[in-house]
Every structure is written in C-alpha cells, then in structure tokens.
Symmetry: C2
Subunit: 127 residues, 2 copies
C-alpha cells in the first residue's frame, strides 16, 4: 500500500517465455530446428545426451505451444518430421540476444565462479 516502491507491471513476460523455452533441452531443440526440419531420430542424435523421454516430452510441449510443427508421414517405417513454425521462429529470434550474451560472457562467468568457489587463493581477501 506504500507509494509504490517498485514496478510490478510486465514482470511476467519473462516467466511466460521461460515457461515455453525454459526446459533443459528446449533451446537446443529450437536451435536445431531453426536449421531446418528434422526427424525424431535426427534430433535425438543432434542433442547428444538427451533421453528419448525428455526429447518427446519437450517436443510435445513445444508442439502444444505451437512453436514446433509435427508431421506424421504414414509410411512403412514410421516417419515423423518436426519443424519450426513461424511463431517458433519469432521465439528463436527473441532468444538470440540472450544466447549471444551467454556466448560472449561465458569465460568471464566461469572465471568469476571459479574465484568465488575457492575462498582463499593466495592473497588475503581484502575486505
């Protein structure tokens, strides 16, 4: 009830976006698909380390959110193609600055965290 200490408007935009793109593998999936449509098995091989369960789960969520399109080809061995929708492409674009930021500052962050992890390196921590 105070005079307004802080801005509360907006706020949630980030939550919304991270709810869509915030899974462990979603960025990778989006990125892989921004290179062109891929089949399920292709994606699995691209995202080395991902389990089938997580890959499908994330793909289902991305499909529900209409950022990826799933197309089933009725064929002898099952064949499913995943691709970015136009909407998905806007998300990838919105993600890019953040990705660039991370790429640009990765080494700085690593250094800073390493330094923070060991309390007494050699010099006395002045304070």
């Amino acid at each position: 009830m105070a005079v307004r200490e802080c801005r509360t408007t907006f706020v949630s935009g980030l939550d919304v976006a991270l709810d869509v793109a915030g899974g462990k593998w979603k960025g990778l999936i989006l990125w892989a698909l921004s290179d062109g449509p891929k089949r399920f098995g292709q994606l699995r091989r691209c995202l080395s380390g991902v389990s089938e369960k997580m890959l499908i789960q994330h793909l289902r969520e991305l499909e529900r959110d209409e950022v990826v399109h799933r197309e089933v080809h009725q064929a002898v061995p099952p064949r499913v193609d995943y691709s970015l929708t136009a909407f998905g492409a806007t998300l990838v674009e919105a993600l890019r600055p953040l990705s660039d930021w991370g790429t640009e500052h990765r080494s700085r962050l690593e250094a800073v965290r390493t330094a923070a992890a060991r309390p007494a390196p050699g010099k006395t921590a002045a304070l």
Copy 2:
C-alpha cells in the same frame, strides 16, 4: 560420424545465460533493480510471494556472477543496498526481447494451452 546432421556449435550460450538468470525470481529481481538500487526489505516487498530464503539465495548468486552489487552500510539497524552492475545492465538488455516476446504472446499461449488441456470441448475428437 554422419555428414553433420545438425549444428552443434554455440548451443551453450543460452545455457550459460539461463544459468545466470534462470531462477524463479531472478528476472523479477533484475527488473526491480533496473529501476534503481533497492534495500533487501524493499525487494522482498516488491517480489510479493518470494520467501526470504529464495530471495537471499538468488541475490547471492547474482552477486557472485557480478550482475548485482551488494553494499553494506554499517548502521544501527542493518542496512544493505542491492544494485545492478554495468554487467548486470547488459544482461537485462539481453533479457528484454524475450520478456517482450512473452508479454506480446501471453494471451495466445494461454488460449492454446487451455484448448490443449480439454480434449473434447464439444466436437467429437476425430481419431
């Protein structure tokens, strides 16, 4: 070993950035501080719903990553000011497009998810 099915370069930029800004309240904290320095209690009131534990934990991580600055004023009632560093400001900028995207498409996403949540609205789901 294949001819290269997909791009694996980069990738991690997003992971790095989300590791810094990806907590439940970090976006809110960053946003609140981008409006100007705040005291601990002020932040707590701004981010209604946050527990003290999470607020401190996130602030400590942001401080370690050098995106926020913590300044203790030796005073009769303890007084601590938190502010964005210049580095933190670059992160806020990188976050903005994503926040804008979320704000812009929130209602679309809500609609799509509501529709996906109820399998049979009125029409028989053919299949």
